[in-house]
């Protein structure tokens, strides 16, 4: 149901799922090599891309691989010769290709992957959990969560812009909640090719490109002689990425209008006078924001922080933001069994980020929505109530609450 109404730099509006929006982004980014392998829920993006290619709307090499490991290795090596490449996966498929994910990062090859977040086996579940994407958090990937289909499309363009930047050259994982975003339809404004070309330069791997005219040896055995220096270089690239991310959003705004506000790595909702906030990643923003509105109608000063970029973690900006509040409730759609205080992954990132602040807010944790279980508005209100209580107390009895679990 295309609505042919050009809106400035946008060529049309369409009703698209998160996966379909990413496919439009891949078309507009003029991606060169795409490798597919099926697994729910990310797989719909490949359905859409293969149709785009079959309809002649994108010239690309499209390969249906024999496994995720091959799929990821194919795009890694396509990138090594200088091609812009795309792949993706979900849950246990993502883990099957994990070895390839690690080397893609250590080789500093700026491919873009879609992670349609899915619970890891066993037992089987199609629904969202963030543990799949979070598994790469220490490997040198850019890792970003989007919450709407519009953001998904735009972050394909932003993702390539940031990943391919000479200062960064890191692979980019674009994560989105399985079902809640991969398969839910949104009205999406689709940019014109001309506008995209103004924003996104062609990929140039430069002196690292594998070609007979540039006979380099890539990733030879280094052992203890050099591995530490190479890790250090990758560490510095991840640090530089923070600045490049900000620049990329500014450039994006210049072309597409004021789509994003600083700090781009996260966005705040009704936090100006808030005493208590929740922070989470992905589509949990929706019930959380509705809960904020309802609670504010009753006079509660609450807000929501939607964390977009998990790697690199926006340490300084988030620290300055969260220190303003009396209590922070961290929503984890993941698990980290046996971790400190038995909390989730994001809890530890946020607490660690806040540690240097002398007058810290109280930090509590919620494990919720696992395996695709719905996080309701009532669940979000309950999380706000617990966080408000933590703000009032001097001492916390427990840090972690499972919300929406049968006990």
């Amino acid at each position: 149901m295309a609505v042919a109404q050009p809106v400035g730099v946008y060529e049309r509006e369409d009703l698209l799922t998160g996966c379909q929006a990413v496919a439009e982004g891949i078309r507009l980014a003029n991606v060169d090599v795409i490798a597919a392998y099926p697994i729910r829920p990310y797989t719909e993006v490949m359905d859409a891309i293969s149709k785009i290619i079959a309809d002649g709307k994108l010239v690309a090499e499209y390969i249906v691989a024999d496994s995720e490991h091959s799929q990821f290795e194919i795009v890694k090596h396509a990138a090594s010769v200088g091609a812009r490449a795309f792949a993706g996966s979900s849950g246990t498929g993502w883990m099957y290709g994990f070895e390839a994910l690690v080397v893609t990062a250590t080789d500093r090859l700026p491919v873009l992957f879609l992670v349609g977040n899915r619970a890891l086996d066993d037992p089987g579940a199609f629904g969202v959990e963030h543990n799949d994407a979070l598994a790469i958090r220490d490997m040198g990937w850019l890792l970003c969560w989007v919450a709407t289909a519009q953001e998904a499309l735009e972050h394909v363009l932003l993702g390539y812009r940031i990943a391919e930047d000479r200062e960064v050259r890191m692979p980019m994982a674009l994560a989105m909640d399985g079902a809640f975003l991969t398969h839910s339809q949104h009205i999406v404004r689709i940019p014109s090719q001309e506008a995209v070309n103004r924003f996104l330069p062609p990929f140039d791997l430069g002196e690292r490109r594998l070609h007979p005219d540039n006979p380099v040896s890539i990733a030879p055995q280094v052992n203890e002689d050099w591995v530490m220096e190479i890790r250090r270089q990758n560490w510095e690239a991840a640090r530089r990425a923070r600045g490049v991310i900000a620049t990329a959003y500014e450039e994006f705004n210049q072309v597409f209008g004021q789509r994003y506000r600083p700090p781009y790595s996260f966005e705040e909702f009704l936090t100006d006078d808030a005493e208590v906030v929740l922070i989470g990643m992905g589509t949990v923003a929706m019930p959380a924001r509705t809960a904020v509105r309802r609670l504010r109608e009753q006079g509660h000063r609450v807000g929501y922080v939607n964390l977009r970029w998990f790697r690199p973690f926006p340490t300084e900006e988030l620290r300055e933001s969260l220190r303003r509040f009396r209590a922070v409730g961290v929503i984890d759609r993941d698990f980290a069994h046996g971790a400190p205080d038995d909390g989730g992954v994001l809890l530890h990132e946020v607490r660690s980020c806040l540690y240097p602040v002398r007058e810290r807010p109280a930090v509590v944790n919620f494990i919720t929505g696992l395996g695709g279980r719905d996080v309701s508005i009532q669940d979000a209100i309950r999380m706000y109530e617990i966080t408000q209580e933590a703000a009032r107390k001097d001492r916390l009895d427990g840090f972690v609450t499972w919300v929406g679990v049968r006990e």
Binding site: D32, S70, H77, P212, S217
Partner: protein, 332 residues
Amino acid sequence: MATADKVLVYDRIKGVKQIPLEEFYTSGHRTCQGCESATVMRQFIKAAGPRTVVAGSTGCMYVANTSYMTTPWIVPWMHTQLGAGGSSAVGMAAGLRALMRKNRIPQEKIHVISFCGDLGGGDMGLSGISGALQTDYDLLIIMYDNESAANTDIQATGLTTWGAQTTFSPVGKVERIMHRRWKKNVAAMLAVGHPNCRYVATACATFPPLDFLNKVRKALSIGGPTFIHTYDPCPKGWDFHPRYSHELGELGVRSGLLPLYEIIDGEVVYTYDARKTAKGRIPVREYLTRQGRFAHLTEEDMAHIQRMVDQMWDEWEVPGVAPFRGTLKVSA
């Protein structure tokens, strides 16, 4: 199956004096004395020439072969993962083709070659190689087979000869034979399962002379995905003096244990057929007794290997290649 091109047009090396003098795999590697896998490296890139990109899977030809700051590769080379022999080739070929289609790099023939060991290619990476052989990209996958995880400590793989001692199959007080798997028939398996793959071959780096060089040339000329399996005697892993490396390869081929053939458009050609030599197939014990890894074998063990090899040549529908026997018979 595609109609067989009876005459495969390629730039044949007709004599030893015609072997290109240029080396594209030179000093800098740290492989052992008498390493036949290093000879495979040197030869395949000599045959392919400088307009080539190479991916090398993890294995001894990565770890011992390509050290930072002392790379032996004159051509562009990149490490790939143990099981990525097939997928790395597909990736490079797809990337180059896409860039040429979009006029971002000049149109030209660039050879894409990926090599992997018997552990990486024959065991772990089999699925990826199968995937690669289903594509329509021009690429060559070379599986260099020294019958062990030769860099990791000489562990048994699916291609280790039956009965061999390795660090995973030592001789013990109770068990004499710990490695009881028969050598996996990788080249023929791939040829049978991938009718679009026009060229599959087995080879030995130095025997017969020129054979391997010309097989690489054929594989790169015929187009589409191709596969070569090389037999590489390994002095360290097989326990023999490095001066006998070439000789061991020759003995393996002449005994029939390591059959040499190519399958071009589904047609099997024996590139060395011991049956047609004056001596015929030599007994496998002439090959086995030259290697320390078989020192523990009894006469019965060697007779078992001989029986298996005899079966390969006398009973298989395609001798030495395909382990099918005759037509289905209805039992009485």
